[in-house]
């Protein structure tokens, strides 16, 4: 397939996944904001999340302080901020439109309707939608898009590139959310310590992992177990291991004559996570582990781009 087509497919799915991740984060914080709580914890959690997503600076240009309501609107609905959910849905649709002939008509219509609806919802002339309902709707649209992708697309290269985009983005998002919330998890952390339940449940809910945690551990929430669930569990759909496994297997399906090294690195990341124990993760502390992981993920993304998506000019 055309490199440019693959590039648009890849970014189309990354942007949809990104919109969903943001919607989950907003949703989790929004729910917490409705409970009786100490406002400072919520603001701290929001601030850490914004920093991990590199959103703090553009936000500060517009607002003076971390004010939950303003953060929710900024992240979800802002038409000018290129990182908002609104902008992600627009970017997903623009990428889809550039290759609409390579998408199934169901997939194109799903992405196009999402855009037409969000454009109406976030119209300049009407009051902003309820945030809770909005992020719920975004998650549903993302589920629908993914379902239509899996349910209608031929299992060819185009499909594999959309999957690579989805799982790279998801791994990136999980790692960043962990970064924002796990800064104090150091070697020798007391595995039995009872953390702030407020913050942990935000984290778990943001990753659809709250109920999963209960099922898997049937016990109180501890930081080490949370990290284990989100990093090393193969059966947890948003864990780093699961995402990297998917990236690796989809990458194998599209290999070309330049991609051997990229494939090896993807395999290495996957194997490392697969054979790593929680003790190993904590040797140098979680922050360092996550930082290294994000750097390797970035390297992988760059290599995929130059091997397949934006090959260096020829002739």
């Amino acid at each position: 397939m055309l490199s440019r087509t693959a590039d648009h497919m890849y970014w189309m799915s990354r942007y949809i996944e990104r919109a969903e991740s943001l919607a989950r984060l907003v949703d989790a914080h929004y729910r917490m904001s409705l409970l009786p709580h100490d406002g400072e914890t919520l603001a701290l959690s929001l601030g850490a999340t914004m920093r991990a997503l590199h959103m703090e600076e553009p936000y500060r240009e517009r607002y003076d302080s971390i004010e939950p309501r303003a953060v929710f609107e900024f992240v979800s609905l802002d038409r000018e901020f290129s990182g908002s959910i609104f902008s992600c849905l627009r970017a997903a649709r623009e990428n889809a439109r550039a290759v609409r002939g390579s998408l199934t008509s169901e997939l194109w219509e799903t992405l196009n309707s999402t855009w037409l609806e969000v454009r109406t919802l976030v119209s300049r002339n009407s009051p902003h939608p309820d945030i809770g309902q909005f992020v719920e709707w975004v998650k549903e649209r993302s589920h629908l898009t993914r379902g239509v992708t899996i349910g209608t697309m031929l299992r060819d290269e185009a499909f594999h590139f959309t999957r690579i985009g989805t799982f790279l983005e998801r791994a990136d998002s999980t790692a960043r959310i962990l970064t924002a919330h796990q800064t104090d998890l150091k070697p020798g952390a007391d595995a039995g310590s009872v953390p702030d339940p407020f913050e942990w449940s935000v984290l778990l809910r943001a990753l659809s992992a709250f109920e999963v945690y209960r099922r898997v551990y049937r016990d109180v929430i501890t930081p080490v177990r949370v990290a284990q669930l989100l990093i090393l569990r193969d059966d947890m759909p948003r864990s780093l291991l699961r995402c990297c496994k998917e990236v690796y297997s989809n990458l194998k399906s599209v290999r070309n004559e330049h991609s051997a090294e990229t494939e090896r690195r993807a395999g290495e990341i996957h194997a490392t996570l697969h054979f790593t124990r929680m003790e190993d993760v904590l040797v140098h502390g979680l922050p360092e582990f996550l930082e290294q992981f994000l750097a390797r993920l970035r390297d992988l993304g760059d290599r995929i781009a130059s091997d397949f998506l934006v090959p260096p000019a020829e002739a």
């Binding site: 055309l2 490199s3 087509t5 550039a98 008509s105 330049h258 397949f308 000019a313 002739a315």
Partner: protein, 472 residues
């Protein structure tokens, strides 16, 4: 307008033409609410599917629907057969003309067309002189604009031989009609059009460079911001071929390749939907970001087919149009089955004098204009507009032609509250390759404003489904 326009549906007040009887009967039975609900449904569907066109000069990303009218334009089979014969004849002659112009120029030597009319035309491409193209075919896809005059005669208004568009609307309008009113299609024998992409692909493969057994065909677009982008993406998808932009292609050793995820892949036929000027920045416009450097070298070496060929514009120019009937006689030795609209060429003194004396009754067009821009419709113009145009004509008469104001035929159309007659034209698509083929039908455009004769979508025109009715 002197004469009453021909009505496609009615013989006279209260009397319906034979081929519309059954439809008219059905229409009268439909409750008004059902029809307006169906019209709303059509709009919603067109939006969701994204059958839109970009409007130049508006906010970036602005996309608009072309209004779709639910009353079909019906052509009885025997009229279609005659039309089809006339179209094939005309396009054969036009292809012969372009080949002749870029080779021996016999028609110029014979004095049928003044040489300066052709050789000084900005659409004449000296780069094409002596270049042989597969099968001698230049205009592989031709969109011929047909109108019906007040006597009910079909006439050719314009030949579009460069990058004619609109065929996706022919296909989507049919799909929409079948979805909205399936019962009409079980009650009428409407000739199918949905095989057009297959015929087109087959046609494009048949003109691949000699010796290529299994040619790779691609469709080349200027990109997602082009006004006809929907059609480009649609056709590429329907044919199962890659939709490429200039940046996806490159030329190496006089051969054309596309950049794919599996490395370079050879391309044999380019169905291009961008103008000559943008194809190759090394030869034409050096500032073109849309083209492929070196494409013309590969083309002249016979390693790639470009459809339509480079330089076809020399035959669809309004200054050449008046000579097409002569071409048919010259190359085919036949008399034209479909005539032209009478045309005054203002570079001729006697034509100029006549036209200047009759401006309020005539339509004056710029020779190189397109899309309904740069024209004067005398009967609809104000005195000031006419005088302004008169000054332009006198300054550069050779830039203009004039035609009588045609009473384009009318077809009932939803306008405001109910049905009212609106003027229409017809653009059938003629494919030339191994054979000349036409899918029965075409794009019917309708001028939605009362009395308007301008059917272009950029000027408030809409479209209708076009039925060739096999039995009624």
């Amino acid at each position: 307008m002197a004469n009453k326009p021909y009505s496609e549906m009615h013989l006279s007040e209260g009397s319906t033409r034979q081929h519309y009887l059954s439809y008219d009967h059905w229409l009268k039975e439909q409750p008004a609410e059902r029809l307006s609900q169906k019209r709303a449904e059509a709009d919603a569907l067109f939006h969701r599917v994204g059958i839109t066109f970009a409007v130049y000069g508006q906010e970036e990303g602005a996309e608009r629907l072309i209004p779709f009218d639910i009353v079909p334009r019906v052509i009885p089979l025997e009229e279609w057969i005659r039309l089809e014969g006339g179209l094939k004849q005309r396009v054969r002659a036009l292809n012969a003309f372009i080949h002749d112009i870029y080779h021996d120029q016999q028609i110029l030597k014979a004095g049928v067309i003044p040489p300066e009319q052709v050789l000084c035309n900005s659409q004449y491409r000296p780069e094409m002189q002596g270049v042989d193209v597969p099968g001698g075919i230049y205009a592989h896809i031709a969109g011929i604009d047909i109108v019906r005059d007040d006597a009910g005669e079909f006439r050719v208004l314009e030949d579009n031989l460069r990058v004619p568009s609109g065929v996706s609307y022919m296909l989507e309008n049919r799909k929409m009609m079948m979805r909205l009113f399936p019962e009409l299609f079980s009650a009428h024998r409407v000739a199918p059009v949905d095989h057009y992409p297959d015929v087109l692909l087959d046609n494009l493969r048949s003109v691949a460079p000699t010796g290529v057994a299994d040619p790779t065909v691609v469709l080349m677009t200027a990109g997602a911001h082009n006004s006809a982008y929907f059609e480009h993406a649609f056709l590429a998808q329907q044919m199962g071929i890659e939709l490429v932009e200039g940046q996806d292609l490159f030329v190496r050793d006089e051969a054309v390749f596309m950049r794919t995820t599996q490395g370079p892949q050879r391309v044999d036929v380019i169905y291009r939907r961008i103008d000559d000027d943008f194809l190759d920045p090394l030869v034409f416009r050096p500032d073109s970001m849309l083209g492929v450097p070196g494409l013309l070298t590969a083309y002249r070496a016979g390693r790639i087919t470009i459809a339509n060929a480079i330089g076809t514009g020399v035959a669809d120019d309004k200054s050449i149009y008046p000579y097409v009937p002569e071409m048919i006689r010259f190359y085919l030795g036949q008399s034209p089955i479909i005539g032209n609209v009478h045309t005054w060429m203002l570079r001729k003194k006697e034509d100029l004098d006549y036209v200047l004396a009759h401006l309020p009754e005539l339509v004056v067009k710029e020779v190189h204009g397109a899309g309904g821009y740069g024209m004067l419709i005398g009967p609809a113009a104000t005195k000031d507009e006419i005088e302004a145009f008169r000054r332009q004509i006198i300054a550069t008469p050779e830039r203009y032609i004039a035609q009588p104001t045609l009473a384009l035929s009318t077809c009932p159309t939803f306008a405001g509250v109910g049905l009212a007659p609106r003027h229409i034209d017809l653009r059938p698509f003629v494919l030339s390759g191994r054979d000349v083929t036409i899918v029965p039908g075409g794009l019917t455009r309708v001028a939605l404003r009362e009395g308007s004769l301008v059917v272009n979508s950029s000027q408030g025109g809409g479209t209708k489904d076009t039925w060739v009715l096999e039995a009624f």
